[in-house]
Amino acid sequence: MTEYKSVKVTKGRGGWGGPLTITPTDERPLVASITGGGIHPVAQRIADLTGGEAFDGFSSSAPFDKLAVAVIDCGGTARVGVYPMKKVKTVDIHGTSPAGPLAQFITEELFVSGVKPEDVEEA
């Protein structure tokens, strides 16, 4: 058993949604960075503070139900909806608001955007 801590993720300037409290568990230990170019600093900070495992979604894969949170850099259409649709808490680096065909799944309880590393705090 790993001891996990919680973090609070608050929307940044121009952002939407949240705040989200993220707590990895033994069932959902992964902090997925679905951003390309390696682990994004926001994902790394969430992993560092919670004890979760940072993981690059573009170099390996994991099932949805292992994710504590998905960190994305989505410009507004696809990734913003896919993870909330699967009830995975989602942190967008860009300050997007719900839009697109999946907008119905994007709620303040599941999604926060415009997030920078300093918007991630110990809860």
Binding site: I34, F58, S59, D73, G75, G76, A78, R79, H94, A99
Partner: protein, 135 residues
């Protein structure tokens, strides 16, 4: 203008078409991701494998998707990074000349094609019309 006057800035081939892609066409939306993208994105995406990845689209470029060739009207600020890093592009047939979202690539209102494995996905940049003629 002849083909010799234009440059291919992105060249790719469709490798897989997700089960949700056709439903999104009804929203005037076609989503691309590179073949290495996470499995959870495959359902909503046209996957492809690029052989040329020099630049993202600019307004005035032509995007060839299957048999269709569409003029790019507007491009959001994160489109280039998305395409070159992730093979990701959101093509929207919304007729906008200013992108609504930062990841949008806008083309004329109208049907977008349902792509198939092996179809081309190519971005071509026409030569400037005021370009000096070659000596």
């Amino acid at each position: 203008m002849t083909a010799a006057d234009s440059a291919v800035v992105y060249e790719s081939e469709v490798t897989q078409v997700g089960g949700q892609v056709e439903a999104f066409l009804g929203h005037g939306l076609l989503i691309f991701f590179g073949a290495q993208s996470p499995a959870e994105l495959h359902d909503i995406s046209v996957l492809h494998r690029a052989t040329v990845a020099e630049d993202g689209p600019h307004p005035g470029d032509l995007i060839k998707v299957g048999a269709e060739e569409l003029e790019v009207l507007a491009v959001g600020p994160v489109v280039r990074d998305n395409l070159l890093n992730l093979g990701h592009l959101d093509l929207k047939a919304d007729g906008r000349t200013e992108p609504k979202l930062p990841g949008d690539v806008c083309v004329r209102v109208g049907d977008l094609p349902l792509l198939r494995e092996g179809d081309p996905f190519r971005i071509t940049r026409p030569a400037l019309s005021n370009k000096e003629p070659n000596p």
